[in-house]
């Protein structure tokens, strides 16, 4: 088991390395360069050359890549072009806002969607299943900002139950925090709920229709034991994968939610960076999101291997 997990870890590291190459080459191999972006329209050839010299842009791309990667590993995320501050400082106080939003949304949507998916799978073909299937099919195609704006219109503008801005203050008590965070968390949960529920349903149905389940049912085992002892252990690893996969949807959801509700978070920083074409900031944010995403996928795999003995022996 240890060997498989360490192989998987190495694979994750390799993926991260590939991601860093993609990010670096997408932002650096360009007709213009960072120096041109800084100086903008008012550039002269001398100023351009001087700045390139100062920033070390004259070195070959491969040297700069390893320099950048080395900095990343040591926690040096570079300096923002727009604010001239270290990127690490800018990210530090915003990370918590995004993390809190994502964790709360995951805490709500993961159990809810797994429960609904299981319910739907157990009643496959029935009325509950069909209703849920139709609802989620529609919900998947609805843009996140539509859900966010509807919730905002109804609960913040008309009913005034919750706050429309998710800007929390350190001195806020629980109810104030709840008022501020309810709508963004709800929007984000909606954005991933439908996908996760449908994927859970299909992976559980896959197991329900396998021969060993039929055998167990024919033995006359009660339905509860059938689900808990026979189906669930095998369903666990696809469900874990489903959860990890949906974190990808969570990323795009977080970006939209932070924009709608004015959350001063990491994705907002990334979008601002993209608007201002602040390359070091974009690179750092993208690497953080990429690393978190790859790490969570890795975690799901390792947990699956631990949950399901069959995965411990490679085919």
């Amino acid at each position: 088991m240890l060997r498989i997990i360490s192989t998987r870890l190495a694979q994750g590291l390799l993926t991260l390395l590939l991601a860093s190459i993609i990010i670096f080459s997408a932002t650096e191999i360009l007709p213009g360069d960072v120096a041109e972006a800084i100086l903008g329209q008012s550039r002269t050839e001398e100023a351009l050359a001087a700045l390139r010299e100062e920033m070390g842009l004259n070195r070959p791309a491969i040297v700069r890549y390893f320099d950048w990667l080395g900095g990343m590993v040591q926690g040096d995320l570079g300096t923002s072009l727009a604010t001239k501050r270290p990127v690490a400082d800018m990210i530090e106080n915003r990370m918590w806002n995004t993390l809190r939003l994502a964790l709360l949304a995951a805490a709500i949507s993961v159990p809810l969607s797994v429960a609904l998916g299981l319910w739907s799978a157990m009643r496959a073909g029935g009325r509950v299943d069909k209703t849920l299937a139709m609802t989620t099919l529609a919900l998947i195609a609805v843009p996140e900002f539509f859900i966010g704006l509807i919730l905002m219109k109804v609960f913040a503008v008309e009913l005034r139950w919750f706050s429309a801005t998710a800007n929390t203050r350190p001195y806020f008590d629980f109810s104030e925090n709840f008022r501020a965070l309810a709508l963004p968390v709800a929007t984000l949960s909606f954005a991933v709920l439908a996908h996760m529920m449908r994927m859970t349903r299909s992976s559980v149905i896959n197991i329900f229709t396998s021969p060993y389940m039929e055998m167990a049912a024919l033995k006359g085992l009660p339905k509860r034991r059938l689900v808990v002892r026979h189906a669930l252990p095998n369903a666990l690893s696809p469900i874990l994968t489903v959860i990890a996969l949906n974190l990808s949807y969570m990323v795009s959801g977080v970006i939209i939610v932070e924009t709608i509700f004015g959350v001063p978070g990491l994705t907002r920083l990334l979008v601002d960076g993209v608007t201002l074409r602040d390359i070091p900031l974009i690179q750092a944010c993208a690497m953080i999101f990429g690393a978190v995403y790859i790490l969570l996928n890795l975690l799901a795999d390792i947990l699956s291997i631990m949950a399901n003995p069959r995965l411990r022996y490679p085919k």
């Binding site: 099919l137 900002f145 974190l247 074409r277 993208a286 999101f289």
Partner: protein, 291 residues
């Protein structure tokens, strides 16, 4: 495979043959409605695309225009009608780009096999190991926002899944007996590809096209909503939402209407693709995505 359309089908049974369900009919009518508006928009719209018709900004429904005015006093209805053109056309071009990349490389990998397949598949996997929104943001951040960059970026991001689908299809069908027979007859690669493999891939590829089309509408409108997509004064539904969010607190629905229109478009498209797939193979669209 030979042609199957040599029998004459009476007109009445064309619709019966489609086995339209209620949801498919409603979804189809909504799409048709938007398509007609996109084609004849400029003749239907009461005002110009960026024409300011009223001094009153965020006018409520019925005042100024039928659907009110936006943050600059422009007619929401007119911008909506012009916007459907931008939204649909851009999504269509993007999807075509993703198919041009994805299908070409996918079939090439399935037919050439060997190192070409390995290299391309690994690159695609590396791209997929990374949230697609993030990838698009990085590229747009580097190249700036223009329609060309937008179409190519989103097209590239979407093409990874098209590649996987077409590669799998190419592999599956490439080993079937009728392809073997064609090879044994001495047909060339191009002939086998266009006459044997492609016709047998049409149904899943059409479904994939529908899904990618929905996805590119969502993706592009999301980017426009962030201010990174279509730029003013052009009318685009995602952009209209972004422009008018502030009006939400003034009781204006100028942001909600385009958002609802995008939802109507994407939900209808998704339901239609689902119907198409169920008709084809009794499998729902999401079970397809979920795999």
């Amino acid at each position: 495979m030979s042609e199957t359309s040599d029998t004459v089908v009476p007109r009445a049974s064309v619709f019966a043959g489609l086995r339209l369900t209620w949801t498919a009919m409603i979804a189809g009518s909504i799409l048709l409605f938007w398509l007609v508006l996109a084609l004849f928009g400029p003749w239907i719209a009461p005002h110009g695309e960026a024409e300011i018709i009223s001094g009153q900004t965020f006018a409520p429904l019925g005042e100024g225009g039928l659907l009110g005015t936006d943050k600059l006093g422009r007619d929401v209805l007119s911008r909506l009608i012009y916007g459907v053109r931008t939204t649909l056309l851009l999504a269509l071009v993007t999807t075509v780009v993703s198919f041009a990349f994805g299908v070409t490389l996918g079939f090439a990998a399935a037919i050439l096999k060997g190192w070409f397949d390995i290299v391309v598949s690994r690159i695609v996997e590396a791209f997929m190991a990374f949230p697609s929104t993030l990838l698009a943001l990085v590229i747009i951040g580097a190249f700036g926002t223009s329609i060309t960059v937008l179409v190519l970026t989103v097209g590239l991001v979407l093409s990874t899944s098209v590649f996987r689908v077409s590669r799998a299809l190419g592999y599956d069908i490439g080993v079937m007996d009728f392809v073997e027979a064609a090879r044994a007859r001495g047909e060339g690669t191009w002939w086998i590809l266009t006459r044997e493999i492609l016709p047998n891939c049409m149904a899943p590829l059409i479904a994939e096209f529908g899904l990618r089309f929905t996805f590119s509408i969502l993706f592009l409108s999301g980017l426009s909503f962030l201010g990174l997509g279509i730029q003013e004064p052009a009318a685009d539904w995602g952009l209209m939402v972004q422009e008018n969010v502030g009006g939400l607190f003034l009781g204006s629905s100028a942001a909600l209407i385009p958002a609802a229109c995008i939802a109507s478009l994407t939900v209808s498209m998704n339901l239609l693709v689902d119907w198409f797939q169920q008709r084809q193979q009794g499998e729902t669209v999401l079970e397809k995505i979920d795999q």
